[in-house]
Symmetry: C2
Subunit: 262 residues, 2 copies
Amino acid sequence: MRVGAVQFAPTFGDVRGNLERCLALVSSADADLFVLPELALSGYVFESREEAESLAQDPDAEEFAALASAGAERGAAIVVGFAERAGDSLYNSSVLLAPDGSRSVYRKIHLFNDEKRIFDPGDRPPAVVDVGGARLGMMICFDWIFPETARTLALLGADVLCHPANLVLPYCQRAMVTRCIENRVFAVTANRVGTEERAGQSWTFTGQSEIVAQSGEILARAAPEGDAVIVAEIAHEEARNKLVTPANHIIEDRRPELYRLG
Amino acid sequence: MRVGAVQFAPTFGDVRGNLERCLALVSSADADLFVLPELALSGYVFESREEAESLAQDPDAEEFAALASAGAERGAAIVVGFAERAGDSLYNSSVLLAPDGSRSVYRKIHLFNDEKRIFDPGDRPPAVVDVGGARLGMMICFDWIFPETARTLALLGADVLCHPANLVLPYCQRAMVTRCIENRVFAVTANRVGTEERAGQSWTFTGQSEIVAQSGEILARAAPEGDAVIVAEIAHEEARNKLVTPANHIIEDRRPELYRLG
């Protein structure tokens, strides 16, 4: 399958404009799966929870219908990050829009820094969704620093980690190589670029969206700045071969009875 | 405290000569903790379990008394890998020789490749030992690829991961940066160098022993070849500050109730 990461700089608060940019970038490339950044429609730095609520969608919103249509036309699944309104709750979420019209939502379980003031933490375990025979797992941005996130997805059978991000620290792109090696899964990290100066804060996002193989090989990496769509061909079934040597199955070799992970 | 990694090429089967080399290298530098490679006294490629047994020690062996003395003279703790004879069992172990004369043994819980034919897997959980106020945890070589090893040690309160190694794959040195960042601990990886051609096998070890800070900074790294002692000054107490941002405590932010790690 061909997997892509879409990198761009959302304009804060311009949901319509950001959607158009997403649609244009998806239409500029050919892939079976596109991963877009975290909070791609709203922007990142909210002054208040109320402001975030005013820019939030629910997964049935028309914006996702438009994205799903653009994907379905090309036979592609799309993963995109968004602020999710759900009753009185507000999550930093991503939605997986499958070509068959189905939608799956992941709610970020590890909120970063000021996000704790804006969002509710995800209330459901990470999950794996089968799309055309590929098993896709979603995690969002800072989830990367907790090895338990990718491990949980790998143990649930994920072939590909779909990883929308708004990264500001410099570590994740290298760490995703470790995440792939230790789990023998593929990963598509779609990071945003640009700087947001709002609410007395200034955050510059680090780009370098990347696609990493289960072997740890970096198959594609975007520049630190600028819009980009990177695409790589992957044999996602290789993620189901967990042998790192003829005698070492990276999952079966675990020793849960000796770990102290409480 | 000052921590050091000792890198050299053990000569297969020459326990006495390897011990002398260890003693000379430890005596050439000044540190409070020296970590030496995995199986530093015996060499690595055993033809059979019987051969490994013939080159094994128990933790009370005179070789460790000599190393402990050399360490104690300098006020230093020493961690060294060895083949451990324990009744009918044979482990790929490391011993921590503290300046006060106490000894702690770790038995590698994730055996690599042909080691499964030679050794018994470790039968006890990883543990943390307090030496002069520094909390030291041991893990050996291939243990690195399982994030549960370093995580277990971090959750037990380790400040410093003491990591004897005989690495042949090219990934670990970079992955240890991730291990340090995700746990906010220090790590001292002591890797061997050289090539062993025995028993129809040929293994070349990758050197590049390294000391990594809890921030992910590589404080010292040796060359891929050649003997070396690398030393770095660390403030090990910084490993107890688990805040990666003012709002993110890398341990307390975990969501064990949502992980699926069985």
